[in-house]
């Protein structure tokens, strides 16, 4: 159970960081929607799980948050990528790419054999 969440949280964190990089400061709801859209609605995100992930990233210093006003004049908390967050994104993205590349090789070889 714990393991699964960690894996999920790991990838969720990466998605959050990437989304924040491309979109700039964004509030929780906007992030959740954007992640769903980017996944082509393949990912049915339980929005509640997003907040502990955001908190974790903030505690680790990869993102920062501040209260602001949304496009339709609602008070909302906005998250923004920090310098450390950018570095982390680069690192995590590279690792993820490598992992998928390796896994892809395995899967193609297995198919070929």
């Amino acid at each position: 159970m714990g393991d699964k969440t960690d894996v999920w949280q790991g990838t969720l964190a990466l998605m959050v960081l990437r989304t924040l990089e491309s979109m700039g400061p964004q509030h929780g709801y906007g992030l959740a929607r954007r992640i769903e859209q980017t996944s082509g609605d393949l990912l049915q995100l339980n929005y509640g799980t997003l907040y502990p992930a955001l908190l974790k990233l903030e505690q680790e210093g990869f993102i920062s948050s501040a209260w602001g006003t949304s496009e339709n004049n609602r008070k909302a908390k906005f998250y923004e990528l920090t310098k450390a967050g950018r570095r982390q994104l680069k690192k995590a993205a590279a690792e993820w790419n490598q992992t998928t590349a390796i896994l892809a090789r395995f899967l193609t070889t297995a198919e070929g054999a």
Binding site: G48, P52, S70
Partner: protein, 882 residues
């Protein structure tokens, strides 16, 4: 990196929980609002849109919970919860809490107190740089059959060793003296060390003020300088810096003060040198040794104490090998009949504290046992309470509390008890240290420096934690095994009672067994102490003695001086006899002489304890005459050399002969025959615990340094005052030191034994008390649990006596089992004690029997109260309450 940051953030989150909680609630609300608006834009009603938003969120409360868990460190929170809950439950049952806390506090306090001694004496390092590299150098000579540590190297040997050895970084020689120090019109006796130029550098000790003694100060003509101790600086010069421009008058000679040593440096102490003289308690003055050229090449008579510091990387074994090689060569330079000088390198720290190591470990072992018993009691109390809380705990389990959480809860409670007990225990230890000066036997180095420093307090915290775990683990395990279905079926109050008392009874049996071990040990020590106290010392304990030294001014007039002094002292009303001797019995100083007896197959290296005395010495000390006659004043004027010997001497060297008229030679080179005129009783000279050695008394009434012994009908104090004023009228520059009765010396000689015996007896008493409280508690507990059973028995016709016996029998079985196991334990444990015993066998049957009787009687008394309560149970009421 991110992880560390996250931990810090979560830790801070713990303190800002409230504001973060509010902040997140707002964020969540804004999220739901945004989502709802979005839904409404898609055409849903507000209610429907909001419902959907909550569904997609996965529940507002669940989100809040997972956010909360991520926010802070949950275990701290539950720890605080446990602590709060624990404090509350402990407050609810003050009787239980106070008993458990005090029981453990006694055990922890005793452990802390003894550990503070161990810390001061054995663990804390000596203030001499890296003390582990310091060594004593001895040159033992086996032909004298004496302890090796008596032989310091002769000066000539010392200088050769210093020149030739490569093992030592520094090497120093020093000697001790007692001086009359003139201060403000009066004179007092102080201990001084005469040291060479390397003394302070060997000990790596720097002065607090001024400078220390150098090689230049040891040159003749430059040697009238002195370094003083911190204590003397304070008492004589009120710690003023201008002390360096002042001087001291020692035996009438002036010494310029050049330095002040810091507090804590008073080497050598009484207990430092293995065969040091008891007169020297601590050193207050250091002056140059300033050897004459003759002394420097003296290989036979003058010798020093030698201390060296090993070079880094040189082991004691290597230094020993080198010194042995050098001494083997030097031995050939000695006069032929004295040869046989060897080498011994001894660890400085070991030789300073080695002799008390076993005593301190013994005491620490004893308090360890006390602590175990205290733990047993506290565990029993917790078990009993856990049993009565079974319902509460069962309900918590039934409501879904995790077993781990329950165990943690119980351990937290044990921890609260243990830590509180630790705090109170530190208080007990503090009281003990306040009493320590009164218990101090005086010959345990640095005992008085014992304090509650950081190391001791850490030890206490450690012991408290360990104690908490030891006491908490049994009840926690027991409770964690609650069988839920069984618990619910039986409503949970009786189901596990039987199993409980089994564990509790085992604990009580073990406690009694441990008590037997402690009681047997202290019993043996008490018997030994009584034996030592009843040893016949051979002299009167009321005789008042004092030390008197005459300086160079008197070198030609000593006989006249003493004659004058004694005449005046004898004139004091109430004074019956006045005598003098070079070394008092039990003063830790010994003078040995080699001798031959006429008409006896003499052997090489035959030794007797020799005393130089004035004629009245025997009368002043009340040493009884067994045969022949005492010495008289007339003998002083006579030309013949006379001797008196003791009974042990006669038994060994005049067996079957009349000693009176026999002759003894006390000088190898120039035969010097003394005629025996009398035989006196044996006197314990070196120790109360060794049988008296052969003793020879020779006449001398002109010693430069001697002890005066006065027998009188006066009070010791007023006699001392009269003696002081008499001496003052003769010469105000002279001082008497060490005024004490012979009884004081005997008391000093037994002080160590009194110390160890009283401590062990106190610990055994605490242990016995704790075990009885434990037994009482268990019996009372089981009676209260068996009220219904007793009620039924009585309803069925059991008499009150039967009930009484029922309880007593159970107690008897427990105590009996404890005794049995304890006796087996004591059989082995008292082996450790062997070296502490005197005149009693380690398996002494009288001690063992008394211990058994004591424990049996006390145990039954402790059980009697609950037994009578059981017997007074009203059967009707007992049956109705259930």
């Amino acid at each position: 990196m991110g992880q560390v940051r996250a931990f810090v953030a979560r830790f801070r989150g713990f303190f800002r929980a409230r504001s973060i909680e509010d902040d997140f609630a707002a964020e969540l609300e804004s999220h739901i609002e945004l989502h709802t608006e979005n839904g409404m834009r898609a055409g849903l009603s507000r209610t429907e849109a909001r419902r959907l938003a909550l569904v997609r969120l996965g529940g507002a409360e669940q989100t809040r919970q997972s956010h909360r868990e991520r926010r802070t460190l949950p275990w701290i929170e539950s720890l605080i919860q446990d602590t709060r809950y624990g404090l509350r439950t402990l407050r609810r049952s003050p009787g239980f809490t106070i008993t458990a806390v005090l029981t453990l506090a006694l055990g922890i306090g005793a452990c802390t107190a003894i550990f503070s001694l161990v810390n001061a004496v054995l663990i804390r390092s000596l203030p001499y740089g890296d003390a582990s590299r310091l060594v004593y150098l001895f040159t033992p000579n086996p032909q004298f059959k004496l302890p090796a540590e008596i032989f310091g190297p002769a000066y000539a040997d010392f200088f050769d060793l210093k020149k030739e050895s490569r093992s030592f970084q520094d090497i120093t020689a020093f000697d001790q003296s007692i001086f009359s120090l003139a201060s403000q019109g009066a004179a007092e006796r102080i201990s001084a060390a005469r040291v060479d130029g390397d003394f302070f550098s060997t000990f790596q000790s720097a002065p607090e003020l001024g400078r220390v003694i150098t090689a230049d100060d040891n040159q003749p003509g430059h040697d009238k300088v002195a370094v003083i101790s911190h204590a003397l600086w304070q008492s004589m010069f009120a710690a003023r810096a201008d002390a360096l421009r002042r001087s001291l008058s020692l035996n009438g000679t002036r010494y310029q003060i050049i330095g002040v040593m810091p507090r804590g440096f008073e080497y050598p102490h009484l207990s430092d040198l293995p065969y040091g003289n008891a007169q020297y308690k601590t050193t207050q003055v250091w002056i140059p040794l300033a050897l004459t050229p003759q002394q420097k090449i003296d290989r036979e008579t003058a010798s020093a104490n030698a201390v060296a510091r090993l070079r880094p990387g040189v082991s004691i074994a290597q230094a020993q090998a080198e010194m042995s090689t050098i001494m083997a060569r030097l031995d050939k330079l000695h006069v032929p009949q004295m040869r046989g000088w060897g080498a011994l390198v001894e660890n400085f720290v070991d030789s300073t504290v080695g002799h008390v190591r076993s005593l301190l470990w013994l005491l620490l072992g004893a308090v360890g046992i006390v602590l175990l018993i205290a733990c047993g009691n506290a565990a029993n109390l917790l078990l009993a309470r856990a049993a009565s809380r079974m319902r509460e705990l069962g309900v918590r389990v039934a409501l879904g509390a995790g077993r781990n959480r329950i165990i943690r809860q119980l351990l937290t409670e044990a921890l609260l008890i243990g830590l509180t007990a630790g705090a109170i225990g530190v208080g007990f230890a503090f009281l003990f240290l306040r009493m320590l000066p009164r218990l101090d036997p005086g010959n345990i180095p640095r005992l008085r420096e014992a304090s509650l420093d950081t190391r001791v307090l850490l030890f206490t915290v450690g012991v408290s934690l360990l104690t908490s775990i030891l006491t908490g683990i049994l009840p926690a395990l027991r409770v964690s095994r609650i069988n839920l279905t069984e618990f619910l079926a039986t409503t949970g109050s009786r189901s596990v009672a039987g199993a409980h008392t089994r564990v509790q009874s085992t604990l009580i049996v073990l406690e009694s067994a441990l008590v037997v071990v402690l009681l047997a040990s202290s019993g043996l020590l008490i018997r030994s102490y009584v034996n030592v106290e009843s040893v016949d010392t051979g002299f009167s304990q009321s005789t008042v003695t004092m030390n008197l030294g005459l300086d160079a001014r008197y070198s030609q007039q000593r006989v006249a001086f003493f004659h004058n002094l004694f005449t005046r002292l004898e004139a004091i009303p109430g004074v019956q006899a006045v005598g003098a001797v070079n070394d008092l019995p039990l003063s830790n100083a010994e003078a040995l002489c080699m001798f031959q007896v006429e008409g006896y197959p003499n052997q090489k290296g035959q030794l007797a304890e020799a005393r130089l005395v004035t004629p009245q010495y025997f009368s002043a000390m009340s040493i009884p005459l067994v045969a022949g006659r005492f010495l008289t004043e007339d003998d002083l004027a006579g030309s013949g050399y006379l001797a008196i010997v003791n009974q042990s001497f006669v038994r060994k060297y005049f067996a079957g002969r009349n000693p009176i008229g026999g002759r003894i030679n006390t000088d190898d080179d120039h035969p010097h025959w003394n005629t025996v005129v009398g035989v006196v009783g044996d006197v314990r000279h070196s120790s109360l615990e060794e049988s008296p050695a052969p003793q020879i008394y020779l006449l001398n009434n002109g010693l430069p340094e001697s002890y005066i012994a006065v027998r009188s009908t006066l009070q010791a104090k007023s006699l001392a005052a009269s003696i002081r004023s008499t001496l003052h009228t003769i010469d105000p520059n002279l001082a008497v030191g060490d005024i004490q009765t012979m009884g004081d010396l005997v008391s000093d000689a037994t002080a160590r034994r009194r110390f160890q015996t009283s401590l062990l007896v106190v610990f055994a008493a605490i242990a016995l008390f704790l075990a009885l409280v434990g037994l009482y508690g268990l019996m009372a507990y089981s009676v209260s649990r068996r009220t219904r059973e007793v009620g039924i028995r009585m309803a069925l016709g059991a008499q009150r006596n039967d009930v009484l016996m029922l309880v007593l029998k159970k107690a008897a079985v427990l105590v009996g089992l404890g005794l049995g196991i304890g006796l087996i334990g004591a059989w082995f444990a008292t082996r450790v004690l062997k070296s502490f015993l005197f005149g009693v066998d380690q398996h002494d049957p009288i001690t063992i029997l008394s211990v058994c009787a004591l424990l049996a009687v006390c145990g039954l008394l402790a059980a009697l109260i609950p037994a009578r309560r059981a017997a007074s149970i009203d059967p009707m009421q007992a049956l109705r309450t259930e």
